[in-house]
Amino acid sequence: MGIIMISERLKATILKELKLDDYDIQDTMRADEVPGWDSLNHINVIIAVEKEYGVRFKNIEVLKLKCIGDLQKLVDSKAENKS
């Protein structure tokens, strides 16, 4: 599997929701490896990403995510479908 670049826009959305000044978010990281991104906050991060990109994820699409790279891929595919 190749490296997936986490876009600045996605990173900024996540950091803003988690109230983090900066954090090096890598594609292979799991959500719980990012400070403050616990299971309770997970829903808020997902909603914030949906709002930022003006998309709506299906539940199963979110449940399938194993790492932040997967979220980037999901966002990209949704944005592609929109355009």
């Binding site: 299971s39 997970h42 829903i43 997902i46 539940n59 199963i60 979110v62 449940l63 399938k64 194993k66």
Partner: protein, 498 residues
Amino acid sequence: MNNLIDFGKLWTLLQFDNADPLVFQSSLFLFCFILLLLVNRLTAKNKILRVSVLLLFSVFFYYKLSGSLVLLLLASALVNYSIGIGIEKGRGISKNILFYLGVAANLFLLGYFKYTNFFIEIANSTLHKSIQPVEMLIPLGISFYTFKAISYLIEVKWETMQAEKNILDFFLYYIFFANISMGPIDRAYLFLPQVKEKFRLNKNQISIAVYLIILGLIKKVVIADYLGLNFVDRVFESPTRFTGIENLLASYAYSLQLYCDFSGYTDMALGVASLLGFNLMANFNNPYKAKSIAEFWRRWHISLSSWLQDYLFKPMQLGMRSLGMLSNVIAIFITFTICGIWHGAGINFVLWGALHGILLIFGMLTAKPKDRLYTKLGIKNNWILNIFKTFITFNLITFAWILFRASSLELAKEVYMQIFTFLHIEVLPQFVKGFPVIAALIVVGYFIHFLPERFENWVKELFIKTPLPLKAVILALAIYITAQAKFADLQPFLYFQF
């Protein structure tokens, strides 16, 4: 020569005996396991042969635990193997039907064996009936292997992994002896790739595995069994015969006993599996160091808490996301009540789970105001505050464990009443004088638990660097100490009942 080996005795030893399950800390297991290590090494280059040997041993191990119920385990493995492939091949509605049938079959199996008598008991007391309880043997580890199966079916359904086509590999995932009786509840997508890899074992891995086995043995036999038999069991049998301080100390001792028992088993399971070339999921991370209940659940029985989070909490939370914060509240409460029911068929377990749910919800709702207050007071990351948080969390967990340990709600009430209305703290010096070993084990046990992580890593590193002959001496010494501590019959693990 004929008398050298008593084959009759050997045959009896290899047969199922309900009163004498095969546990890691028994000499029979040690003997069989050394043989298995040799055969595993000899068959290392032939994958099919190696997996077959591990499967045969796993069948024997489970037979020694549950007798003919091994057939149920094998049938369940075959059903889940077939359903997994069916889900992958299925399209649209047939895929969904097969998936839900598979999950329902696993839940039915678990429900039938574990909860039939619980429901009969409820029906009898609420409807004033007198239905006879069903006499049956509960298949050991059924809560663990059915959860393993459900996670596998879900991952295949979500298409986050492919269904396993190799029946031997799947069966090894499902019935592997190291985690069959008490977990960890390993995920197929983590375990199956390891079955396909070539067997490799370096000196470092051997050292860590031996270290884990020694640690597990000491936790289980020296701390957990000693505290359990000599103190906790006696107090929880008739709490009113003891003062509140003794009840409180027994509750603290139980928190330590349960941790040492379960994590000791897990250490041994991880060590044993590692010597055969498999990395099992981590299950514990110094749980009583947690500064909140939420953190406790990220440190305690991790393979179960992450299972509940991934396959129960998150789907519920997402399904109700339009409710905002309320979705978290409802999902937490349901998840932890089910967590309680998973642990046992009894009202105590339901209440224990619900109590954890309520504590978590309270923690979640007060997190922001508390954070603002700590920031305002300038004590947000203050070490005294952190110790205070850990102390409160630990006491809340111990308070809840009383429900978990007491064999009935009445006995739990008695323990609480003794602690809150009949404390008699002046008895403490007498207790320490009368039971110095118990007092010392509690103090030393908790002292080691609360030592900084770097100390733990330092000890591990030291053991790894120790020359091989010295390692052998340490292992022999650990076996000797545990044999000395076996003042009574071998004690099965506490989580066996779940």
